[in-house]
């Protein structure tokens, strides 16, 4: 694979976030490489120039290649369950399973969850309003209660979660970063440790929970599309990590849910706080259900229902070696290094895309790189004659 040359590009503050995608696009060499580059040493004949100038096949091939298959769409593809009820012996078994899952497991789980909520809400209200004067005690209890309700949630999908490595502790100047597959990542991590999380503000009942209960553990909400929110969140982050008694901070630097086969680019925000970064790798076993929340196709409620009617959610969580910024390393390089660590541990493939491209179109800058190299090539050829 020939590595495309690095193109000097102007960078505004916002663009610093973005890696130079062209540096490692998949399908490596298919990236526009001016046809003449290889032939520059060949004596120029008129037909060369004419043919190469009119020959738009590299660009066309790239476009068609992207239509047929592209790594970005792959990151957000839900894996459909392989049907296994396709013969006479399996079918009754499968039917039996459906009956058990929907008529026995599901109601039992709803019951568990309801009991959980009753316990949680009543205790939370008491703690929240009665212990107004005892701040430290109140916070400790609220923390415990949030962990409790998350345990109920995990129980409601018979979560079989194996945690590896040392549990996170509360101390200043550290942030936890994890790969992101679904909002249940947060629930699974939260049942062990009451993290303060940075998350997209959601509508509906999730939003209500976010703004009432989760705020008590110090969670920070933002709106992906609000440019102003970036600054506010950055400031809140800085304040939060400095507090000695704050809950450990958890960030999903991908900024969007990926299907647990790939990792998309990490946003650099978490890596420029000057804190120790503790990576967490989460890998779901898709044997019973796909834990990827495809927010375009499903509401979070439907996603939870799907989990609650499956046999179990099986997953592994690894708390990995804390990392610090090495001398001379930029936050982006640091982010990439941490992404490497997580990807290797969870067995995920890395792709160079910014997950936000799910919500917006790529900036013209990416196209300009290709245009610049084409223009340079043509002008160079022109000069040579």
């Amino acid at each position: 694979m020939a590595s495309p040359r690095k193109l000097p590009t102007s960078s505004s503050e916002l663009d610093l976030d973005r890696l130079n995608i062209e540096d490692y696009l998949p399908f490596g060499s298919s990236i526009h490489e001016p046809p003449g580059q290889l032939r520059l040493s060949v004596p120029l004949s008129p037909s060369f120039m004419r043919r190469d100038l009119l020959d738009i096949t590299p660009t066309l091939t790239e476009a068609a290649g992207a239509i047929v298959d592209d790594s970005f769409t792959r990151c957000f593809k839900s894996n459909s369950q392989e049907p296994w009820n396709w013969n006479v012996y399996l079918f009754p078994l499968w039917c039996f399973g459906v009956v058990v899952r929907y008529l026995i497991l599901f109601p039992a789980r709803v019951l568990v969850l309801t009991i959980g909520w009753i316990i949680f809400l009543s205790s939370f209200a008491i703690v929240h309003f009665m212990l107004k004067a005892h701040d430290a005690l109140r916070r400790k209890l609220e923390r415990l209660l949030v962990e409790l309700i998350c345990s109920f949630f995990v129980a409601s999908w018979t979560g079989v979660v194996k945690y590896h490595g040392p549990r996170p502790s509360i101390r200043p100047k550290q942030v936890f970063v994890a790969n992101h597959t679904s909002m249940i990542d947060f629930i699974i991590l939260e049942q062990m440790t009451a993290f303060a999380v940075i998350m997209q503000k959601h509508p509906g009942w999730v939003g209500l929970l976010q703004s009432t209960i989760l705020e008590s553990v110090g969670c920070i909400w933002f709106n992906r599309s609000e440019a102003k929110d970036r600054e506010i969140v950055a400031r809140k982050l800085r304040d939060h990590v400095l507090g000695t008694d704050n809950n450990p901070l958890l960030i999903f630097p991908e900024g969007t849910c990926v299907n647990n086969h790939y990792t998309v680019m990490f946003k650099k925000g978490a890596f420029e706080l000057g804190c120790t970064v503790c990576p967490i790798a989460i890998k779901y076993n898709k044997i019973f259900v796909d834990a990827f929340w495809n927010s375009r196709k499903q509401s979070f409620t439907m996603h939870l229902l799907q989990l609650m009617t499956s046999w179990a959610v099986v997953c592994d969580v690894w708390y990995l070696e804390p990392q610090t910024l090495k001398p001379g390393e930029t936050p982006i390089e640091f982010a990439e290094r941490v992404r490497d660590i997580i990807s290797v541990r969870a067995g995920l493939k890395k792709v160079p895309w910014d997950g936000y491209l799910k919500y917006s179109r790529p900036s013209p800058k990416h196209r300009e790189g290709k245009q610049r190299s084409f223009a340079e090539w043509v002008l160079q050829r022109l000069e040579e004659r």
Partner: protein, 175 residues
């Protein structure tokens, strides 16, 4: 999303294969159908411009707007027919015809000086001035025996690309 291969009958696949001159194998058609359904997010039976642009690798392509005019709203059969020019089995003639169509944006069967200039503009963006583009093109056309006023026909394109091998192949992933 069900299993796409079960949604296409053998007749369907053969019909599509017929439509693209058997340039794709049955498995490739099935793969392409899965991809088509994936891109056709609202299941309308065609892929809209917006859905094409949701693929960043495509949206970043300098020729994407031009290609969109050709692929916007195609049904599955025509979608496959469009892509068949990129099959390894496609003839050179077919590939050249596609290239010609990309240049011939007004579909009048001939490519003018301005048509080529516009493709050149898409490819070089703000990094070449209009004068530079014109200068290059005038020179190239002159060397090839054409003038500013001449129109290039498909045959001219065949002549231009005639003795070179066109690298225009896209592999359909089969999993």
């Amino acid at each position: 999303m069900g299993n796409a291969s079960s949604m296409l009958t053998q007749y369907d696949i053969e019909e599509v294969q017929d439509h693209c001159n058997n340039l794709f194998s049955q498995q490739e058609i099935v793969s392409l159908y899965e991809r088509f359904c994936q891109l056709d997010r609202n299941a309308k039976g065609f892929i809209s411009a917006d859905e094409f642009l949701s693929v960043p690798e495509f949206a970043m392509n300098p020729l994407s707007q031009r290609l969109l005019k050709m692929v916007d709203g195609l049904n599955f059969k025509d979608f496959v027919a469009f892509l068949s020019a990129f099959s390894a089995k496609a003839s050179k003639q077919q590939k050249i015809e596609l290239i010609f169509k990309v240049y011939d944006s007004d579909c009048n069967g001939k490519v003018s000086f301005n048509d080529i200039l516009e493709v050149l503009r898409d490819l070089s963006g703000p990094f070449m001035s209009d004068e530079q583009r014109e200068q290059v093109l005038v020179q190239v056309l002159k060397e090839a025996g054409y003038t500013r006023e001449s129109y290039l026909l498909l045959d001219d394109f065949v002549k231009v690309f005639g003795n070179s091998d066109l690298k225009m192949e896209v592999e359909v992933p089969i999993d």
